[in-house]
């Protein structure tokens, strides 16, 4: 319904860009594994990150070139993030967190290309990543602390009679983590891309009037698009960063539930 209305209102349908299109229908033992535009951009993201981190480091130079410097900066960036938020024993999970950060970041940045598909604008993808983090972190918590991990749900100044209620609320709060993690990433990218498309629609509407006033009127949304695009690049990075930082924080909770 929303899509139909948008289609009527604007020459550019702001929802259309999120459409999944099957490129190659595939089926593995009853599982629909069709290669879609989303899959295509996931694969592109995978290859891009691989190229970035492996081929840029080919020289392994003592004095790094530009690309190597950027790769090393990313490495140090994530390594610092893990060290600060999850502590030194979180270092074991650095490869996963680095992969997570790079995957989300590159997917978001590719989403800024015209005609590209934004992988993280689909809740199922962000939710799957968030659930992976959530389940993984919970398992780590129990593996590391045994039942002591449950201390996480018992706050320090527990007021006797209210304790069951407080613990219940804490558990719900804990369960809400993957939701907030996935919704934040999904909603930010979705909203950003819809806004961009709507402004692009304004330009086309103005210009298609053909009048001088219409073309002049297109300048304002044009400027907005430039500003919004810059903002969206920031959001693309920031959301990848936030997703990863929160993963580190949850990991920290799992490693040291006493805090």
């Amino acid at each position: 319904m929303a899509a139909d209305q948008a289609q009527g209102g604007f020459p550019v349908d702001p929802i259309h860009q999120f459409q999944i299109q099957t490129l190659i229908p595939l089926d593995f033992g009853g599982i629909d594994a069709s290669f879609t535009n989303s899959s295509l951009w996931m694969v592109i993201t995978m290859f891009a990150v691989t190229a970035f981190t492996i081929f840029a480091m080919r020289g392994r130079a003592m004095v790094p070139g530009r690309m190597q410097s950027i790769v090393e900066m990313s490495y140090e960036f994530v390594a610092n993030m893990v060290r600060e938020n999850a502590g030194s024993d979180g270092q074991k999970f650095f490869p996963f967190i680095f992969t997570l950060f790079m995957f989300v970041l590159f997917a978001n940045l590719f989403g800024m290309f015209p005609y590209a598909f934004t992988v993280m604008s689909h809740i199922i993808v962000t939710f799957a990543l968030a659930m992976t983090v959530f389940i993984g972190v919970t398992l780590v918590g129990f593996a590391k602390n045994g039942l002591g991990f449950l201390k996480l749900f018992v706050p320090d100044g527990a007021p006797g009679a209210l304790l069951p209620l407080v613990v219940l609320i804490e558990i719900i709060s804990y369960l809400s983590r993957p939701i907030s993690l996935s919704v934040r990433l999904f909603a930010n990218l979705l909203a950003g891309h819809i806004t961009l498309k709507i402004f692009a629609g304004f330009i086309i509407t103005f210009v298609s009037t053909g009048s001088v006033l219409g073309i002049a009127g297109a300048i304002l949304p044009m400027g907005m698009i430039v500003a919004l695009t810059a903002l969206e690049f920031l959001v693309a990075f920031l959301q990848a960063y936030v997703f990863t930082v929160l993963t580190c924080m949850y990991l920290s909770d799992a490693l040291h539930p006493g805090h």
């Binding site: 629909d32 594994a33 899959s39 694969v43 392994r60 130079a61 490869p95 995957f103 799957a128």
Partner: protein, 187 residues
């Protein structure tokens, strides 16, 4: 907001309905979930494998090596600096020593030279004094001799003049007395 109205029928009416709902709002289209999850698993899994097995150890090694290298270089630089400082210290003391020594040598030389000059000067002065004395005596004797000659000549001339004027031989004693008186008057 509209997403919520889509969500509720999907959740309550079951999966058959969802396929028809497919095109309404793509991110909530349940039929697309399966392939997305499959491909997310594939791509993320491969990427994780590549990162943890190849890329990250490689980057880590390079960074670690460089870090050690820089630390070594800095330590070495500090060491060289220390050595330089020591060398400068040694140089400065040597310089000060040399300067002191040079000063002493100069002083000594100067004293020796001035002493030498002094003795030479004294010898020269003595010689000169002697020569002056000699010259003075010589002059005095020459003067005496000359005066003697003058007296003789004056006596002779006076005698001759008197003889010519008076026609008479003059008393030699008187003449020499007069000459002496005249000469003393003159002199």
């Amino acid at each position: 907001m509209s997403q919520d109205t889509h969500m509720t029928p999907e959740l309550s009416e079951g999966t058959v309905q969802q396929a028809e709902h497919g095109s309404n709002f793509p991110p909530f289209d349940v039929t697309t979930f399966e392939p997305q999850l499959v491909w997310l698993l594939i791509t993320f899994g491969i990427l994780y494998y590549l990162m943890s097995k190849i890329a990250l150890p490689r980057i880590g090694t390079v960074i670690e090596e460089r870090r050690d290298r820089i630390a070594d270089d800095l330590d070495q630089a500090a060491q060289f600096k220390q050595e330089t400082d020591d060398a400068i210290q040694a140089y400065e003391t040597a310089l000060a020593e040399a300067r002191g020594k040079a000063h002493a040598i100069a002083q000594e030389t100067r004293e020796r030279l001035s002493a030498q000059t002094e003795t030479k000067r004294e010898a020269l002065e003595a010689e000169l004094a002697k020569k002056v004395e000699e010259a003075e005596t010589r002059i005095a004797s020459t003067k005496d001799a000359a005066l003697q000659n003058v007296r003789t000549v004056a006596g002779d001339v006076a005698g001759a003049v008197i003889t010519q004027l008076l026609g008479d031989d003059a008393d030699a004693a008187q003449i020499s007395q007069a000459v002496d008186a005249a000469m003393n008057q003159e002199g």
